[in-house]
Amino acid sequence: MEKQYMLEVKNLVKHFPVSGNKHAVVHAVEDVSFRVEKGKIFGLVGESGCGKSTCARTIIRIYQPTAGNIIVDGEDVSYKKNRELQALRRKMQMIFQDPYASLNARMTVHDIIAEPLRAHKVASSRQEVSERVYDMLDKVGLSHEHANRYAHEFSGGQRQRIGVARALVIEPEIVICDEPISALDVSIQAQVVNLLKDFQYERGLTYLFIAHDLSMVRYVSDEIGVMYLGQLVEICAAAEIYEHPLHPYTKGLLAAIPIPVPKLARQKVVSSIEGDIPSPISPPPGCHFHTRCPYAKPICREQEPELRDMGGGHQVACHLY
């Protein structure tokens, strides 16, 4: 059977103008392409400022893409006007990073969760709206009594579950999770991740899961894409990336994962990535990573490597291979 793709991103580019300088632009997302299979979880990782969130926000069309195509369930939504996006909004929802900022402080939890139902006029009556809201509250482990409360009365984990409930109440097919756990306590992260996984089993949801924490992404994802300075440098199956990382940047990221066993930690090679991420306004020529790469060759400074398949769906953009 042919694979069905829920989300296809083709050569997506997003530039932001720099205020005060008409010619300079921030190269937030540079020629990114990937596909997410139906019912699978695609993890997108990379350090802060590499364009993960911009990529997510462009896909869900908070931002207008500069170039490239976004195809959701076979439909190209890249350049649709706001009015025509209603269908996309039903299919695709987003969970935000900061559970404190993403919930309106002036609304009760009931109204927050009911908002998508009202926006898409899914429920026929007030009563039906309430029923679905209460149903959703049950599923995320909150009680009916919480419905009349305001968001600020809840803890971070509870709020993020409210965010999950809001995103999932209209039963979307694909959910973009923009670092849904990075603002939470470690003790609560598992709670939210497990909740997301439960929904995946139950409804066959597709996720685009963004994180900077590789250890959590490994637990969650089926496939992982590594981003650096607006570009995808490596894509492969989740298990493969931990066993055979190819790109030097991926190796560096993996080396940065703390090891919870002191004996093993002492044997660990010190992280090989040094320095800071270069400015996305004027990214370095050639391979964007060559300024920090321990294996950089002369060609890396001149020619931009392309994403090539190394066999078994393992793609990497590096001159070493």
């Binding site: 869900i60 908070i62 987003m94 109204d111 908002e115 926006a119």
Partner: protein, 396 residues
């Protein structure tokens, strides 16, 4: 001693052998919120009333409202009723007891008869005036009495021709707050003036809330060209001085309350529009607004359920500053003669009228000024309290 201490230990220490043992945890207690649940209105009211100043301001406004709306039904005089005999009578008389009656000498050297309770009886007619001695002879109940103005304070002479030095202070029972320079009741005029001020307050509040908030939020939310054009309109309106604007309107309409209200109503929202725009510009980039957009909510939903409620704090602060300033503006325009025409009264025209007799009858300026102060206080306190009450983050 030890025995006694052990007996006084609380029960739980005896029941639990290990004081460090963990208490049982269940899902219910973990998810429980410990604050009390209330409805929105109940919540706002609870927070509003828990602050003394806001309740105090609220009471002040209610009192002024009652004073302005219900007061005239209990007043003896209407705001335009004149009595030229009783001009500039103060709230408290310096009454001189002479020949069995009480007399009050006005600043224009007229002598008024008062009864013992303080009611004004009438003007005492003068018969002759001795300019050298500075004495006036008046006829009173068939006899004659003499008023002496040779030295201050002016007083009456008794039968022996001696000055009566002692005087009694009696409250004015006819005009409780005195009368103005045309013999009109200050109390009745204050009531009427308060009505005008409150009307102006309501008009200013409505135009600010409707036009100002909508204009500002639409301008900010749409952004780009729309924003630029709408804000230039605000700039243009803002450059025309309000005084000039009122004069221009009065060319078309007559001078009076209508033109003031029209002027305030059409241009008084520009400050509010600016404040709201600034607030919404920062709010619209916040995550919860982006979230609402990804949820598929309409522009109206985003504006009215997300942006404007969250901008309510600055809106109310601006409103509480703009209402008093609108009241002030009306008073000012009336004061310089662009507002109400006589015999209508507003607090501003009353202040203006009082200027002529400021030295002899300061109460005529003091009373309307006090009422303006009370109104300002009331609105400021209420606005302050409302802003806090509408912010659910301050919930106790």
């Amino acid at each position: 001693m030890n025995e006694m201490m052990r007996q006084s230990l609380p029960d739980y220490q005896i029941q639990t052998p290990d004081p460090w043992a963990a208490l049982p945890v269940n899902a219910e207690s973990r998810e429980k919120l410990w604050s009390k649940s209330r409805t929105f209105v109940g919540d706002v009211w609870f927070r509003f009333r828990s602050k003394f100043t806001s309740i105090f301001g609220f009471i002040l406004i209610v009192l002024v409202l009652l004073f302005a709306l219900v007061g005239p039904y209990f007043a003896t005089f209407t705001y335009s009723e004149q009595n030229l005999d009783f001009v500039n009578t103060p709230p408290v008389f310096r009454a001189i007891n002479c020949s069995g009656g009480y007399f009050y000498i006005t600043d224009k050297l007229k002598v008024l008869e008062i009864d013992a309770q303080g009611h004004l009886v009438g003007k005492v007619e003068s018969i002759a005036e001795d300019y050298e001695k500075k004495q006036v002879t008046l006829s009173y109940q068939g006899g004659e009495i003499i008023m002496d103005y040779s030295q201050s304070p002016y007083t009456m002479l008794d039968e022996n021709g001696e000055r009566i030095e002692e005087a009694k202070h009696i409250w004015n029972r006819t005009y409780l707050l005195g009368s103005d320079n045309l013999g009109r009741d200050m109390l009745a005029r204050l009531m009427f003036g308060a009505r005008v001020s409150l009307l102006v307050a309501v008009v200013a509040a409505l135009t600010n809330l409707v036009i100002g908030v909508l204009f500002g939020s639409i301008s900010a939310y749409c952004g780009g060209m729309v924003d630029a054009v709408m804000m230039r309109i605000v700039d243009v309106i803002n450059t025309v001085p309000l005084t000039l604007y009122v004069i221009l309107i009065m060319v078309v309409l007559d001078a009076g309350l209508l033109s003031i209200i029209l002027a305030l109503g059409t241009v008084y929202w520009v400050n509010m529009a600016r404040v709201v725009r600034g607030e919404i510009l920062s709010l619209k980039e916040r995550d919860f607004v982006l979230a609402s957009r990804t949820l598929g909510s309409s522009t109206a939903t985003i504006l009215f359920r997300h942006l404007i409620p969250n901008a309510m704090g600055p809106i109310l602060v601006t409103l509480t500053m703009l209402i008093p300033s609108a009241i002030f503006m009306e008073a000012f325009l009336s004061f310089i003669g662009l507002g109400l025409t006589a015999p209508l009264a507003s607090l501003g025209t009353m202040c203006n009228d009082a200027l002529a007799t400021l030295r002899t009858s300061p109460y005529q300026l003091f009373e309307p000024a006090l009422l303006i102060c009370i109104l300002m206080f009331g609105f400021n306190f209420v606005g302050d309290g409302l802003r806090d009450a509408l912010d659910p983050k301050l919930k106790k």
